[in-house]
């Protein structure tokens, strides 16, 4: 596997694996570097989801991306969930496993949303302890993704990027940097997205997400139902300049277009990143 100047694995340009595209993928085997799969969608006993996942895995590298780890939650870590995650990883041997820097519910409830944490010392200690537990259980480093957020808390003492940096350095985990989420949160909370990027340690970022969003009142909502917009592409270019060659994928979860349209969008990512990377290399 090619590596950047650090020991970062590099998969190229990928897409999220979605059921709408199963047939097209196994018929055409498109020129995609890798696929990201939503871990929970494949925590089933058999049938269509695992059938297509295994066929895709036979031809492409795959990474697992979860939404229910609740790394910042106050319930004890769900051991049954972790066991299923580990079993799925043993089955498909992903390049890496990621989830989100957030919480998703408490008292046994799952709210099926990526809820923001307060950026406090208490939350930092709490998350670091839980990342350590998860990494010990899985026997590997995990990637944590920055989420889009619409609220911030009066109690927060750190910026989001300071918190993310502290978590990853103290727990020795890695980062899935969602460029769209940086953009969305920077607009919603009126901070400078470039300051955010500058606050993220270079060697921890192993994956980029790109996605579209929508608008609700004065806020931007991370809906993954539209194409990536120009300001997010510009921020992606800035991220490539800062972080170098990082595996990049486009997330689309709703209003899903034909696969060919996403392949075109992925090609745009390549056309933005490659000249910058070549310039860096020179």
């Amino acid at each position: 596997m090619p590596h950047d100047q650090q020991t970062r694995p590099y998969l190229g340009y990928g897409l999220g694996l979605r059921p709408d595209h199963y047939q097209d993928i196994v018929r055409d085997w498109p020129a995609v570097g890798w696929f990201e799969v939503l871990s929970e969608n494949y925590m089933v006993d058999g049938g269509k989801p695992l059938h297509y996942l295994e066929r895709v895995r036979s031809r492409y590298p795959v990474v697992m991306h979860g939404v229910s780890l609740s790394i910042g939650g106050c319930d004890p870590l769900d051991r049954a969930y972790l066991q299923r995650l580990k079993s799925l990883a043993n089955r498909i041997e992903p390049q890496w496993i990621s989830d989100h820097l957030c919480w998703t519910g408490m008292a046994g409830k799952n709210l099926h949303d990526l809820l923001p944490l307060p950026y406090t010392e208490e939350a930092l200690v709490h998350v670091v302890e839980r990342v350590n537990q998860v990494q010990d259980f899985l026997g590997r480093q995990i990637l944590l993704e920055n989420v889009s957020s619409y609220v911030s808390y009066a109690d927060s003492a750190l910026s989001e990027w300071e918190f993310l940096r502290a978590v990853t350095e103290q727990a020795d985990c890695l980062i899935l940097l969602d460029i769209n989420n940086v953009y969305v949160s920077s607009c919603n909370h009126e901070f400078d997205a470039l300051t955010y990027l500058a606050g993220i340690p270079r060697d921890r970022v192993h994956q980029f997400h790109l996605a579209g969003h929508s608008y609700q009142d004065n806020l931007i909502v991370d809906t993954h139902d539209t194409a990536v917009i120009d300001p997010v592409w510009w921020l992606y270019a800035d991220a490539v300049r800062r972080f170098g060659r990082v595996s990049t994928m486009i997330e689309r979860d709703s209003n899903i277009p034909p696969l060919s349209q996403l392949l075109d969008e992925l090609e745009l990512a390549r056309r933005i990143a490659e000249p910058i990377l070549n310039e860096r290399a020179a």
């Binding site: 929970e40 969608n41 925590m43 089933v44 006993d45 058999g46 049938g47 269509k48 989801p49 695992l50 059938h51 229910s68 910042g72 939650g73 106050c74 769900d78 969930y81 299923r84 919480w103 519910g105 408490m106 008292a107 046994g108 409830k109 799952n110 709210l111 099926h112 949303d113 809820l115 944490l117 307060p118 406090t120 208490e122 939350a123 709490h126 619409y150 609220v151 911030s152 808390y153 009066a154 109690d155 919603n188 909370h189 009126e190 609700q216 009142d217 004065n218 806020l219 909502v221």
Partner: protein, 263 residues
């Protein structure tokens, strides 16, 4: 505010709409605390309603979109998700419809939900091998009475008083939704998976009994004896052989076994 209390307040806001979380959220000129929280509040219900709509299109067709949304909100309040995967959120819906007024006045709704949930279970049940006619042909006829039929894991049975599979098909095809029809005696339906696709058909009473007997671990000899008391067929061994042949042709049979039923 301690992390646990903040999360408790936030969750109360999402589940009940009432909490003190607003006081801990930063308001700006761009948006008030409540406007910001409302993004999460709206998304919580919309996401769950969306998954119910995907899992229960027949129920949505029977009720209409507006009434389905009302039902969905009542269900969300009664059964907040407690599973890491949203795929399992609708598992209590059929029971909810059976128990809850006014839905229990329309029992076809609970049956439609049960039928649709069973389809979902068939989709991702554990894989099993498919027993071929050649495997069966290799069994000496002398051993047939001791043979037990093992079905695929994806097999589901339902007993329905309403013709909801017919109604479901009409809704799926986009044709005019027929009025559900009631029958005094329930009709048994079988759902299973073949080449990754969900199939179903109704069962005659003797076949339904035979399938239940197979699931209970009865031998073919015991099933023939039972059929002789239940089947209207003039030739019971021929009827049993015919059922077996059909099950094999539909990929229902995962294996044939002999000896004690494993615990």
């Amino acid at each position: 505010m301690r992390l646990v209390h903040l999360q408790k307040q936030f969750q109360c806001y999402l589940l009940d709409g009432k909490s003190e979380i607003e006081r801990h959220v930063v308001a700006t000129d761009k948006a008030s605390a409540m406007q910001r929280l409302a993004i999460y509040g709206n998304a919580y219900r919309l996401r769950l309603l969306e998954v119910l709509g995907e899992d229960f299109p027949g129920l949505k067709g029977l009720l209409g979109a507006e009434s389905f949304a009302v039902l969905g909100c009542a269900y969300i309040d009664a059964h907040p998700s407690a599973h890491p995967s949203i795929r399992w959120f609708g598992r209590h819906l059929s029971h909810f419809l059976r128990e809850r007024t006014p839905y229990n006045d329309r029992p076809e709704l609970a049956e439609m939900a049960a039928f649709e949930w069973a389809q979902g279970e068939v989709v991702d049940a554990a894989d099993t091998a498919v027993c071929s006619a050649e495997q069966l042909a290799a069994v000496s006829p002398a051993r047939w009475p001791d043979m037990r039929v093992v079905f695929q894991h994806a097999l589901r049975r339902l007993e329905l008083h309403w013709n909801v599979p017919v109604v479901w098909r009409a809704i799926d095809d986009g044709t005019t939704t027929p009025t559900p029809e009631h029958s005094t005696r329930p009709l048994a339906w079988l759902l299973w998976r073949r080449s990754l696709q969900v199939h179903w058909r109704s069962l005659a009473e003797d076949e339904h009994w035979a399938i239940r007997a197979c699931l209970d671990g009865r031998t073919l000899g015991e099933i023939c004896q039972g059929l002789s008391e239940r089947s209207a067929a003039p030739d019971v061994p021929l009827r049993a052989a015919s059922l077996l042949k059909q099950w094999l042709s539909e990929d229902l049979v995962a294996n044939i076994e002999f000896g004690e039923v494993p615990c």
